[in-house]
């Protein structure tokens, strides 16, 4: 009995060289629960180790860019909700901001404040969905329930403002579609106070949890130069230690008026990507707190003509979505319809880097790494 291994670490590993094997292909998805949508991965496996992964995308391709060439600027706003339905407010904001920059429209101050509040609440909601499903993929069910509990409160705030819980169609070129209801500000203040200890609660469940650490620490390292080479942006890039956030470095809207920090990681592993997002939720909450306190009275929408025609020209405007840089490239010929609209989405590039990270990891780690990248499929396929 003395030779009997005490724990799994003492069991000698049987390598493929010893038993003799050949590589085989495993198909994962498109309906696999941990691919968070309809992403298909072809995995070339050597035993349990991934030799190569090929993502196959396009299952949600709705040709939004083609639709845009056939809709007026105002008509396209509801479609922007569907680019990334988890952060629909930020997509709304990005598109409206691109058109405003092209047409040179000045947005009233109150509208800017409302936009920032909505963006940051949406960022928290998006990170909450991510955190819940990420923990769920690693086998922790409780954070999922907690995250959706808090997200519900944010969705209630959205619902009382624009009547929708998911696809908002709230922002307009030049401002927002309607003013905040009377009870919004007190409820938002209440939420910011309520939310602060909730983040500690998630951290209490996960941050020092040995199982969680074992599944994430040192797993799926994405080197900084690879991340930049693949145009990875957002929390995934910040987790590699690069302090880069468009809200800070290239302040759009009124982000230069608020105090917040840019959290970064050190080891660029799965745990760092988790940690960056957790801290980002705190920072987003901070911004909401400041914005709610200082929101001025006034107009909520700049005057735009009923038949809106931006001047001929081109614009590439980018915004920090919860997943990274979201760009809108608009070509206008001076008509009511854009000549061309290109959507540069963060998830598209963030997914493209997956084969680089995944090489050499086991299939169980793939679930953790894929989830940590926070890719959302409608954002990839557009």
């Amino acid at each position: 009995m003395s030779d009997y291994p005490k724990n799994s670490h003492d069991i000698p590993l049987i390598t493929t060289e010893q038993v003799g094997s050949e590589e085989f292909i495993v198909n994962m998805g498109p309906q696999h629960p941990s691919t968070h949508g309809v992403c298909r991965l072809l995995l070339k496996m050597d035993g349990e180790v991934i030799v190569e992964a090929v993502p196959i995308v396009g299952y949600l391709h709705r040709a939004l860019e083609k639709i845009a060439e056939n809709r007026t600027y105002l008509q396209f706003i509801p479609y922007t909700d569907r680019i990334d339905y988890v952060t629909a407010m930020i997509c709304n904001h990005g598109f409206c901001m691109a058109v405003e920059k092209l047409a040179g429209i000045q947005v009233p101050e109150r509208a800017e404040y409302i936009r920032v509040i909505m963006d940051e609440l949406n960022r928290i909601a998006s990170h909450l969905i991510w955190l819940g499903t990420f923990a769920l993929d690693l086998g922790a069910i409780t954070p999922f329930l907690y995250c959706f509990r808090e997200r519900e409160k944010i969705l209630d705030l959205f619902e009382m403002t624009c009547g929708q819980r998911m696809t908002f169609n709230y922002m307009r070129v030049g401002g927002v579609s309607r003013d905040l209801p009377e009870q919004f500000i007190p409820l938002a203040k209440e939420f910011t106070e309520y939310f602060k200890p909730r983040v500690d609660e998630y951290e209490y469940l996960l941050t020092q949890n040995p199982i969680f650490l074992g599944r994430t620490k040192g797993v799926g390292i994405l080197p900084q130069h690879t991340a930049i080479d693949y145009s990875v942006t957002g929390p995934n890039l910040r987790a590699t230690g690069l302090k880069w956030d468009l809200r800070k470095e290239e302040p759009y809207s009124i982000y230069d008026r608020f105090e917040f920090e840019i959290p970064t990681g050190e080891n660029s592993d799965t745990w760092d990507r988790y940690s960056v997002r957790i801290q980002e939720m705190r920072q987003a909450n901070r911004i909401v707190e400041q914005a709610v306190k200082s929101i001025p009275e006034g107009e909520i929408k700049a005057k735009t003509p009923a038949v809106f025609k931006p001047p001929a020209g081109e614009a590439y405007v980018r915004i920090e979505s919860s997943r990274g840089e979201m760009g809108f490239y608009i070509v206008s010929e001076g008509n009511t319809i854009p000549y061309r609209l290109k959507l540069r989405t963060a998830s598209f590039s963030n997914l493209a880097v997956l084969p680089e990270i995944i090489r050499g990891w086991k299939i169980a780690d793939l679930v953790a790494i894929f989830a940590s990248l926070d890719v959302i499929m409608p954002d990839v396929d557009r």
């Binding site: 083609k66 930049i228 145009s231 614009a315 590439y316 000549y339 061309r340 493209a352």
Partner: protein, 133 residues
Amino acid sequence: MVGVDVAFKVDKDLIIKICYFAKETPELSFDLLACMTCIDYVERLELVYNLFSFKHRYKVAIKTSLPRDGELESVTPIWKAANWHEREIAELFGMTFKNHPDPRPILLPEDWEGGFPMRRDWEGKDFVRLPKK
């Protein structure tokens, strides 16, 4: 162009050299290919490379024109991010990228036979154009 520092046009045969220069010159070091766009002007295609440099905070857009069925050198060896963007453009606009490491289609269905949908004069079964006023 709104939103970038400089936008300029280059000859299509020079694009690979210019991109290589833009990335490797220390005074420029455009390390991020932020966006890659193709615009169909019916008689020609226009490609736009939106570049960004983390070091110097420069933003440029490099444009190039080519005929609709033309060929262009792939910039994937310079920025790996171009890989998927080029696959998307090749598939939707019907141009080809020379020396692309993985020229498979990306977004359209496997059995797609409907042509190149992002071209301006594309006609599809269920596609109805907005009436011109």
